[in-house]
């Protein structure tokens, strides 16, 4: 994390207000702020809406947040690297439909998962390779590849996917499920472990250090013997892998396959990463921040629906809230401060 800390130091100054400001602008400040806002939103919900903190409501919130958190892992890594991955919703849809179809064709489910994840990772590696090797903006590459994937899946299933997930996958993500003595399904503790793992990987392994180094200075990183193309391939394939996992989990969650199941995740993963304090220019961000962003988004969504807003109004408010939050603690430096 050392690299991150030094990059965020803004103009030097004295005085309490300035110190608060600069600590808010720091990465940890942003994460803290996002968690705080999620907490405040939950408090508001509990006060305003009866049953907002009931065990069932909290379970539902945790499961929905966990699914978004898994989908956002890849986006976090890719954004730290200085890229963006628009193929996530398409890969979610691909994994969702193909897993259901193959399981319906009596494949072994472990084999199904392996197949889906390997194909997804190959596609992700292709995304990373084309973007970095040829210096094409990943926005375009991942969009194009995503469209090819979606079209192929639709063609294969003729638009009517069939099949379902094995019962244990459904139990893993079911809102009514329980993890041993714990009152929520396994996906929640599994995510906590996974999150801890990712935080450690980002902070303590060569991969994590290379990721931040390459994101903050693509030119210098290759001088430090970091192979940019390899890093991009690896990171985009990880992103695709977690998208595929999300697709399989969603199959268990909704019960049936649906090619467009991933579409809401296109902007939600980006929003979660940004609300969590990452900069889309690369080199900054953390998975802990993304988790905070995921909680904020899920709280806002639940709160607005609970207040009886129509879906259209929920969407509009969500947009306004994202702008508001990021303008509080996600502001960029003025160009005069970058010289």
């Amino acid at each position: 994390m050392a690299i991150v800390e030094t990059r965020t130091g803004e103009r030097p100054g004295t005085g309490f207000a300035l110190r608060i400001r600069s600590s808010l602008a720091g990465t940890n400040g942003r994460i803290l702020m996002a968690f705080l806002i999620a907490g405040v939103l939950h408090l508001v919900g509990t006060l305003v809406i009866p049953g907002y903190s009931s065990p069932f409501a909290i379970r539902a919130l945790l499961v929905i947040a966990a699914l978004l958190a898994v989908a956002s892992i890849g986006q976090t890594l890719v954004v730290i690297l200085g890229g963006i991955d628009l193929s996530i919703p398409f890969i979610i849809g691909f994994a969702n439909v193909v897993a259901a179809q193959l399981y319906g064709d009596k494949w072994n489910f472990a084999l199904v998962c392996l197949f889906v994840i390997v194909v997804a990772m190959l596609i992700g590696a292709l995304n990373g390779y084309i973007s970095r090797r040829l210096d094409i903006h990943p926005l375009i590459v991942t969009l194009g590849i995503g469209m090819i994937m979606q079209g192929s899946v639709l063609l294969w299933t003729a638009g009517f996917p069939s099949g379902s997930a094995p019962p244990y996958v459904s139990a893993f993500v079911s809102i009514g499920g329980s993890a041993g003595p714990l009152p929520f399904p396994w996906v929640v503790p599994a995510l906590v472990v996974l999150a801890a793992l990712i935080v450690v990987v980002l902070a303590r392994t060569p991969y994590g250090r290379r990721l931040y180094a390459l994101g903050s200075n693509p030119g210098a990183a290759s001088l430090a013997l970091i192979d940019p193309v390899r890093m991009w391939m690896l990171t985009f394939s990880l992103s695709a892998m977690f998208a595929a996992v999300t697709g399989i989990l969603l199959l268990g969650f909704t019960g049936s396959a649906y090619g467009d199941v991933g579409q809401p995740y296109l902007f939600q993963t980006i929003a979660a990463v940004v609300v969590g304090g990452a900069a889309l220019v690369g080199g900054r961000g953390s998975y802990l921040g993304t988790i905070a962003g995921v909680l904020v988004l899920t709280e806002i969504n639940t709160l607005l629906i609970g207040l009886g807003f129509q879906p259209a109004a929920v969407q509009a408010s969500l947009g306004a809230v994202i702008i508001l939050l990021v303008s509080i603690y996600g502001r960029e430096k003025h160009v005069s401060m970058t010289i």
């Binding site: 084309i130 590849i145 469209m147 079209g151 259209a312 969407q315 702008i323 502001r331």
Partner: protein
């Protein structure tokens, strides 16, 4: 530099490269496959059909040229918003059908939304993709609130803008850009797009130039929204969003660098025409929408790869 036709061609080739080749190929294929559709007598409706995409691509370009992650993903929803306001509020509810009210109103809405995007990205300094994602969601939500379901019709003069008079809004659009290109503003925008720090030290007001780029994008998107309204002859709350990503794809296809400072609006519109002609070819083959989508994605990827390869070769020659 004297501007002979050869120079202009060379310049166009350098800026758009592969998109231009693709344009010629697709045009020939279209002419062979579907001669009646491309007859001069059908040009009016043909241009009307392509106009919203061209408009959306041209609208997306100025902020991208401004660099430092400049992008406006709210272009599509803004088109839908203009569509809904013009038909639902102005034409049907208020009974206004005069073009002298509707057109200025639409342009004003575009400028206002553009100014909001500009203020969010340059004054509040939120990353452009996030700020415009916010306005994307707000505009989509508000559009669905004022217009829950598709509704029609549109005024007759507006529908004519997708028929016999379809070239008019496009000419207006390009005339506006042609004028901007002749102003010092254009050079400042391109300078900022290639290196905003150098431009800042040279005394360019980076904030103001970028802000204005968002306003231009907003106004252009409003014109694209009018073209869309003319084409569908009604109001549809769900039609605008689809234009966002495809217009950015068109811009990239047309050789505009998403990093800023390189490319132009002619390239962007060539990219858009490519995508339109591709759609036209594939529908002529009567393929399913699924194949259409695969081909769409594949051509996009292959085209940007070839553009990048050609660029590398060109750079190699210069060095």
């Amino acid at each position: 530099m004297t501007k002979t036709p050869l120079h202009i061609l060379q310049r166009l080739w350098r800026d758009t490269g592969f998109a231009l080749v693709l344009l010629v190929i697709l045009l020939v294929v279209n002419l062979i496959l579907n001669p009646t559709r491309f007859q001069p007598s059908a040009w009016g409706s043909l241009i009307g059909l392509a106009a919203p995409l061209i408009g959306a691509a041209v609208a997306s370009a100025p902020v991208i040229l401004g660099g430092r992650g400049g992008i406006d993903i709210s272009v599509g929803p803004l088109m839908g918003f203009v569509n809904a306001i013009v038909i639902q509020l102005l034409f049907l509810k208020a009974g206004i059908s005069s073009p002298f009210v509707i057109i200025p109103a639409a342009l004003l809405i575009g400028a206002a939304i553009g100014a909001i995007n500009g203020a969010l990205t340059t004054l509040v300094r939120i990353q452009p993709i996030v700020a415009t994602l916010g306005t994307y969601l707000v505009l989509t939500g508000v559009t669905l609130t004022i217009l829950p379901a598709p509704i029609g019709p549109a005024p007759a003069w507006l529908k004519a803008l997708a028929g016999p008079w379809s070239a008019l809004p496009l000419i207006a659009l390009f005339a506006a850009w042609w004028t901007i290109r002749r102003l010092p503003y254009y050079d400042q925008l391109m300078a900022i797009g290639s290196d905003d720090r150098a431009a800042y030290t040279a005394g360019v007001n980076v904030t103001r130039v970028r802000f204005i780029a968002y306003v231009i994008t907003g106004v252009f998107a409003a014109i694209a929204g009018l073209m869309l309204t003319a084409l569908i002859g009604s109001a549809d709350p769900n039609i605008g969003q689809a234009y966002t990503l495809i217009s950015i794809a068109a811009v990239a296809l047309g050789g505009v660098s998403l990093a800023g400072g390189r490319g132009g609006l002619v390239g962007a519109s060539i990219g858009a025409i490519d995508i339109f002609l591709l759609q036209s070819v594939l529908t002529a083959f009567n393929v399913s929408t699924y194949v259409l989508q695969i081909a769409y994605g594949a051509i996009l990827v292959v085209a940007v790869i070839l553009t990048a390869v050609q660029e590398r070769a060109a750079r190699g020659r210069e060095v």
